[in-house]
Symmetry: C6
Subunit: 202 residues, 6 copies
């Protein structure tokens, strides 16, 4: 089958692109959540060989942003005036599970605000409708993959702190961790004040 490892962090020049951490049968990997807006009527398109649970994460992310658009300075009407496409590259690899939740919601928040995402940052965690961040599995493998890829900061659920404490210090060197309980904490850390170059008017 046609699969390739691309393991380098790729910068933050694009709005709507966020680095996540995945746990596959062959170890940890970084993945990119890409999002894009086009004028439309609020349709959501999801691509990248995604399973049902991962698609549900996108619905949760979208609903959370609708409910908290004022806090984030997004016009409420924006969700009905733009079509949103979310893609996870490497279509040959099936992807599922809830752990991309924080990455999805950050990507959508970035594309709708056109704010840059913090550099060299990756994240993993399930989200819930009321805005909680839940712990996920495969933390050790994900951390190793992040380091290999050049990631410097990682956002995790507070309840995943215990998984980090079990990893030898040598593997953690050069990494900064942010432990959170709420989606809004994720967005505070991940979204920069600065907009991307040539931002869309949303």
């Amino acid at each position: 089958t046609e699969t390739f490892s691309r393991e380098k962090y790729q910068g933050n020049e694009f709005a709507g692109v966020v680095t996540g951490l995945a746990w596959t049968s062959v170890g940890g990997e970084i993945l990119f959540i890409e999002s894009s807006l086009s004028a439309g009527k609020g349709k959501l398109t999801l691509t990248g060989n995604l399973g049902d649970v991962m698609k549900e994460s996108a619905l949760l992310a979208q609903e959370y942003l609708r409910a908290h658009c004022n806090t984030l300075g997004i016009r409420k009407e924006a969700f009905d005036e733009w079509n949103l496409h979310v893609h996870v590259p490497e279509g040959a690899i099936p992807k599922d599970g809830p752990s991309a939740g924080v990455t999805m919601v950050t990507a959508m928040a970035s594309i709708f605000t056109q704010r840059k995402v913090k550099k060299n940052l990756a994240m993993t965690g399930e989200i819930t409708l009321r805005g909680k961040v839940l712990p996920v599995g495969g933390i050790k493998e994900k951390i190793l993959a992040a380091k290999r890829a050049g990631i410097k900061e990682i956002i995790l659920c507070n309840e995943n702190k215990k998984d980090i404490e079990e990893i030898k210090d040598v593997y953690l060197k050069g990494l900064t961790f942010h432990f959170v309980d709420e989606i809004m904490e994720v967005l505070d850390i991940a979204l920069m004040k600065q907009k991307v170059d040539n931002p869309l008017s949303i």
Copy 2:
């Protein structure tokens, strides 16, 4: 697979969030039904890796509330002016069965009235279209899980009373039970007069 136990009761600050009791292959567990409203045309979105029977519980809950909106002080038009999203966290775990019926209808009643849910309360029971509450299984395991999680009061169907009588007193210490036959009894017990902070105008 990525599954975690989160076994603590989480407070009642949010409208639309209610604690249920589930019975899985590894014993009893508490679960949270979360709900959220956004301006729309009455669409219902269900997420959380739910099976068909659990989705039907949501349809029954919604229909019951429509039919009894006057009693609950909900404007009839509200159901067509807001989109309702119901989520059950921990997407990695498939969930099914009718026993979340009472939890679903209480969550929806709370979100549409913006009334707080009673503190430290959990519940389990099937609902029917005419407003009955039916007994469900796994009562002993559910009670143990509720206690572990810090729950103080539990709503059950009257026909589940016999299951409680078979549990040793030591396991029941500190728990108050409410036995009901009707959905309206559940809502009378579970919904406080008080609204949540910064309630939505529904």
Copy 3:
């Protein structure tokens, strides 16, 4: 799995609720067909873990009532101005087959006329589009279940008379049978002139 027997007849206070007789792998059982109306555009919602054939019975019942609304005093427009929800409780149990046809059409006729259903009555039989009632199986087991549940009168297809004649008299004591060939005969027997308390204006 979470299944329970509730085997008592439950009164006739609600419009749209009718007692049927089912035949399962563990013997006969009574079941309830519940129906509910809400202002809408004529949508039909079916819940209760129903198979395709049982769902078709609901379509047949609805079409029959449309075609015979004059006879029953139902405004023709009612079918397009109300959403109809039909539910069969005990979601954990898959249900299928055509034998709930008479129960479905009686429940729908009751909810649209708001007429009470005769007390202590149960029924079983397939229906057809032109209004025939067809015989069904499992009669003996159904009769025993009906008696246990406190049922006094039973409606069956004329072609099921032979099945009754093979049951010992002691099991039939206290039961009155109505044998019919047509849906309209069922409705004549099952629907009382009297409306329920606080009837809806359909």
Copy 4:
């Protein structure tokens, strides 16, 4: 499973009801195609546990009638102003195959013209879009079932004549056969000039 034999011809008082001949694993059988109209927008509903090929026969029948409505004296607009429901009783029995085509098209022609169907008549044959009648299988078994049911006249495809010639005369006694090549020949034979009592104004 709940299956019953009803093997008697049932008269011609209803428009839209036609007797077909089916060939099942347990021999030949008669079956009834029932149809019904209700004011609407041209929706077609098919019930009776029908397979995809049998549903396609209904689409072919409907299209044929649209194309030949002038010949049959049906207003062209009728197909868009009435919803058509076609049902094949005995929902417990799955039905499939193309051999009910002639029966379907005759039932639809009868319901849209409100003309009576000829008494004691049954038929079997596949139909095509350009109005051909094609031969079908199981002729011997079907003929025996028809006779048992009190059928006097049978319409078959001309190409099925050879199957009749192989049946002993004693089995054919009292039966009249009509061999046809075209749907219009079927309708000429099957539809009486006389309308049913209290015909609908289509």
Copy 5:
């Protein structure tokens, strides 16, 4: 199962009916693509127990005709003002594969132009969106079937010429072959200038 061989060419009196050549597990066969128009909004209905690839051929044929309607003298609006039904008789036999492409596009061109199809002509070949005709398999078996059925002329892809050269002359006697590369060549050969009797005004 109910399957029959009908192996005779059936004339060209109908617009929209074209003879194709199929290759089945039991050898070659002729088949008929039938098409029909009814006033509507451009809906396409496909029947005849067709697989997905064969349904795609119909979409390709339709798109090709839309793009080349001027060349064929079809009003562009015709595709949105008429519903098109395409049927392949003998519903008991599942049919699939791309080789009916040329037959489909010729049938549709005939029905939209109401031009007669050349007599005693059959064809087989895949079509592509840009109007190419691609070679298909089973040529020898198809040629034998065509001859048996009374076919005199056959259209094939140029790349299938080599398959004809391998067939003994005795089998080819009385057959004329047309080898083509483009859909438009097929239509030039197959469609007569003459319209059918009583043509529709499209």
Copy 6:
């Protein structure tokens, strides 16, 4: 089954037709992505026996072009005023995987701009929503197939350069390679300034 090899490059006279490279169980192959526009409301039709991942490539290509229509000189409204049909010939062969991404986006860019595609050019590579080109597998087999087919220039992802370096020079003779990281680089190379003859006014 009915499959054929057509292995020759076929010129560049049509807008919207681009040569891709595929890797199948029997080695490398060239394939053609064909696209076609017809007046409509922006519907996308995909044919050619395509799997879900390949269909997702088409959605990505379409979204990318919408987002970059200004750069390419395509009117934004064009995407909503034309229906787009994309086909991959040889319907008998199931096709899947992300490697046709660059070919899809080039075909769509050509059809919407009506610009010719560079002669004797083929390409293979996955695309992402933000416009990256990702490496794909089977490079050696694809290169051999391209050469056999008369291809002179090949576009590949930069990360596939290492695969080329492992191929013996004799196989590469006469081929020019373009290594890219971005979709826009692909379009710069592949699309000629010159429009096709008789271009559509998009």
